[in-house]
């Protein structure tokens, strides 16, 4: 199972991860096109926290025993059996926000583009390497293999 390791000692707070997360969600790598022509851009599925010298990006920890899975009343939140990533089936999600309340990292976001649904980092499993990891200029975000 994969997990994104967050190394705050190397995060430079540039927020390139946020920008590229948005692009990955839109499904293109042409940032200029995306930012110019996509009218309603999705929220990044990670959060850059900052206080004085400390900065880091934080996204789903892909916990072994995830709270969000336990809290989900619809089955929308599920672990992808192939990649081990926790994903949200936005079609099933009804927007009860139990996962938002349960996630101890606070990285599940609410979205409402016509339909209320939870949104979270799914490790870009459809893309390959997570966009944030791939575009971090200082390797503050690295994809690691955990567990068996």
């Amino acid at each position: 199972m994969k997990r994104i390791l967050v190394r705050e000692e190397y995060c430079i707070g540039c927020k390139l991860c946020e920008i590229n997360c948005v692009a990955a969600q839109v499904g293109s790598s042409n940032l200029i096109k995306i930012y110019r022509y996509v009218p309603e851009l999705p929220e990044p599925n990670l959060i850059v926290e900052e206080d004085e010298y400390t900065t880091f990006a934080i996204q789903c920890r892909n916990c072994d025993d995830p709270m969000c899975l336990k809290a989900c009343i619809t089955g929308a939140m599920h672990r992808d059996s192939f990649t081990g990533a926790i994903r949200v089936d936005k079609e099933r999600c009804v927007g009860c926000w139990m996962c938002v309340m349960a996630c101890p990292i606070g990285v599940i976001k609410r979205t409402n583009d016509g339909k209320k649904a939870a949104s979270k980092c799914e490790l870009c499993v459809d893309r390959g390497t997570p966009a944030c990891v791939e575009n971090c200029p200082n390797e503050a975000l690295v994809l690691i293999e955990v567990g068996e």
Binding site: R61, A71, T74, C96, W97, A102, C103, P104
Partner: protein, 426 residues
């Protein structure tokens, strides 16, 4: 070896998952009084309000049950248990043998004393899919335009919301002086009440229904205050209680719910219990009680399942928590939120036009949190409560708009960011 699970709610299904994680060979039998197996009860209000559809009601699908090789006995209500013979008795006369038994029968609606309830159509409780179907059909067939919801708790309010989505004019009647009085504090109740009223819902507090009138079908209710309201639909949602009556003669220790230990074992060997039918530790006050919420049921079911197959697992206890969006206002309540400073608690609040936040602390540890409207990152507070983190070094940041891990002690933060996040299960 035969594992028998009574109840197809989250506790029962999560137990099946953990049983199958370890043991793929022995028989697992799921017995349920319900017609539908694997659906999610909280979704019935969403279904009624057309916010989801039938195909999405099953939070664990048929394939799940097939993959996990589960035998199913639906519409089988259990009426008795002989623990010495390891036998369950069903209403239809069937006897079911078990080697390991999990009771996960959940709760059942509580109905107060109301005159004239018997024999009237148009009066429903609202906790199962069958209830939902009945209500939906009733509204459709009789072209119902207004409704009374008795009970201003979470089920009552979610039902209210669904009825309003169908275009009904709804009146909520709540006995206490405010709605959501158990889950939320006064301020949050006020905000939600205001939002509901704005959407056209009437809210009557400090009153209750004492009499129902009608010829075969309800036509009028009378309140304790004497007020009379015409209606053709009454939903009773004043609460649920553990569904344990069938165990009365079984010899299993029952207080309000089934008494279990941290391995989810009841007082009788090979009988386990999990979910809303049990009572266990509230991590905050150390009291034994029923915390009838979904995540607790899942966790308990998981622990019960593991222990049933002999894998040691413990459930440390839980805390109440609820998240609900009503009338467009998302709200979260975690832990104990109605505690006051006079009793030695510290209360921090933040309020502006859109947002209300409240943190309750005891000895520099968070015991409760309420968030209204801006509920983003609410889970951080949940984590802090469950892990009993001393917040004194960052107390002044707790209500900051950008509150996050950056303000937390470095060591704790590093553990959360780099290590595996473990909050509930040991």
């Amino acid at each position: 070896m035969r594992y028998v699970i009574v109840g197809s709610g989250p506790a029962g299904l999560s137990a099946i998952e953990s049983i199958r994680e370890v043991d793929r060979d022995n028989e697992v039998l799921l017995v349920t009084a319900e017609k539908y197996v694997g659906y999610s009860k909280p979704l019935i209000t969403y279904l009624l309000g057309k916010m989801t559809e039938k195909s999405k009601m099953f939070y664990r699908t048929e394939e799940f049950l097939k993959e996990n090789d589960v035998s199913i006995l639906p519409e089988t209500k259990i009426t008795g248990l002989a623990t010495e013979d390891k036998l369950l008795f069903a209403e239809n006369g069937e006897k079911i043998e078990y080697d390991k038994l999990l009771i996960a029968t959940g709760g059942r609606p509580f109905i107060s004393e109301i005159e004239g309830l018997k024999g009237q159509d148009g009066i429903f409780t609202f906790t199962t899919w069958e209830d939902e179907e009945k209500v939906e059909n009733y509204i459709k067939e009789n072209k119902i335009e207004d409704a009374i919801v008795l009970g201003g708790g979470l089920i009552g309010l979610k039902t209210t919301e669904a009825l309003m989505k169908l275009g009904l004019k709804v009146t909520i009647i709540e006995l206490s002086d405010r709605i959501l009085s158990v889950t939320f504090d006064r301020k949050a109740s006020e905000i939600i009440t205001r939002a509901l009223k704005k959407e056209g819902c009437e809210v009557i507090t400090g009153d209750t229904v004492v009499r129902v009138k009608g010829k075969k079908r309800i036509s009028k209710i009378t309140l304790k205050s004497g007020k009379e309201i015409n209606t053709q639909l009454l939903i009773i949602a004043i609460g649920v209680k553990p569904n344990v009556e069938f165990l009365e003669d079984s010899g299993i220790d029952i207080n309000r719910g089934i008494v279990v230990n941290e391995k989810m074992e009841t007082s009788v060997n090979d009988v386990y219990a999990a979910g809303d039918c049990t009572e266990f530790l509230d991590l905050i006050d150390g009291q034994r009680k029923t915390i009838a919420i979904w995540p607790v049921a899942v966790s308990q079911g998981k622990v019960a399942g593991y222990n049933m197959v002999g894998k040691d697992s413990k459930y440390p206890g839980g805390i109440p928590m609820n998240s609900v969006e009503l009338a467009g206002v998302p709200t979260v309540s975690v832990g104990h939120t109605n505690l006051i400073e006079e009793n030695g608690f510290e209360v921090l609040t933040f309020e502006n036009k859109d947002t209300y936040k409240k943190i309750v602390l005891k000895d520099n540890k968070i015991v409760g949190a309420i968030l209204v409207n801006n509920i983003d990152r609410a889970g951080i507070y949940t984590g802090l409560i469950l892990q009993r983190i001393d917040v004194s070094s960052f107390k002044n940041k707790l209500l900051d708009e950008n509150f996050g891990f950056v303000y937390l002690p470095r060591e704790f933060r590093k553990m959360m960011l780099e290590g595996d996040v473990k909050v509930w299960l040991e």
